[in-house]
Symmetry: C2
């Protein structure tokens, strides 16, 4: 029984057939777009149709809907981690921290999918993506610590707290109100208090 799952993208690279590779890319592209906009609620059939393939093709590349979602969001979150690392030794630690905070919020605000990834399964990913959670917490922690030492951010806060604050801000944006104002409230609260 040829039941080996090509879902493992980390193991031995098997050369996919040309059409298979093309379809896989197309599915990823479409799923990325739709998941970001609508979240996990998007039916697989919709993704398949929009990608011009059958559902069977989707399932040959990803064993489950959740796996597809995860494949995309993992990549997305890796970007966020990279961004944090890029700012890790900036000249102005305070500016770097707030810049990153803004980056995350903007990256997430109009994307129901990312929000779900960060809140539901994500950010503190439990199982196979546990590494990402650790990396995220660590890289964010570096930015935070430096900013605190520079006196730009209130002491006592941990990376987990900041993570929660970020999720809270994206929720605020989803709710309404003046986005700049509500963000300003949180940013002000992040500063050291008198």
């Amino acid at each position: 029984m040829p039941s080996n799952a090509q879902t493992r993208e980390a193991e031995p690279d098997k050369p996919l057939r040309a059409d298979a590779r093309r379809n896989r890319a197309r599915v990823l592209e479409v799923a990325h777009e739709m998941f970001l906009a609508e979240g996990m609620a998007v039916p697989i059939d919709a993704i398949a149709e929009r990608a011009g393939v059958g559902v069977g093709t989707v399932y040959r590349h990803f064993p489950t809907k959740e796996a597809l979602f995860e494949a995309i969001m993992t990549h997305r979150i890796q970007d966020m981690i990279d961004e944090a690392r890029g700012l890790a030794d900036a000249d102005d630690p305070g500016a770097a921290f707030f810049s990153y905070f803004l980056y995350i919020v903007e990256r997430t605000e109009s994307s129901k999918g990312v929000h779900e990834a960060l809140v539901k399964s994500g950010f503190q990913f439990d199982e196979r993506v546990g590494d990402l959670a650790a990396e995220m917490r660590e890289s964010l922690g570096v930015l935070l610590r430096r900013a605190q030492e520079a006196g730009a951010v209130r002491a006592g806060l941990t990376a987990s707290d900041v993570k929660a604050l970020m999720a809270g801000v994206t929720e605020m944006r989803r709710m309404g109100g003046d986005h700049d104002l509500t963000l300003a409230v949180v940013l002000a609260g992040l500063r050291p208090q008198v």
Copy 2:
């Protein structure tokens, strides 16, 4: 309280039969509990079973699942409005406002149902509960305005902004981190800035 039409006929109250009244109360009780804990995701069958009745009985009292959810949440939100009105002429406007903010957050934090009611359909209820949205915004607006005039809350914020901030804080609590700390960040940001 000129709202009506939860049940089928919006006619004069016809006396329900004894068992019918008992069942209706039991359904409301159970649904309240389960909706608060799990949100709209709870299947009607689960509510019926836990209430010891058939699904038919549930549907005889509430035309739709959403109607049942709404009946409960409407009541819950009415409580919140009443609380705001009770604080409307407190001696210390600043304390009243922050007290209310805290009240809402606590009322919502461990309740996926209320959160959904406030975010998804709610807070800015569209159709038949539009009145509630207006009442909420108005009663919250009074607290806010008085607190701003007393110099306890940053100027420029509107009731909608505060509403978004409340939703954001409940989201933070759902995420993790130190609840007191993240709340403190937002409360600090709400104060007038130097």
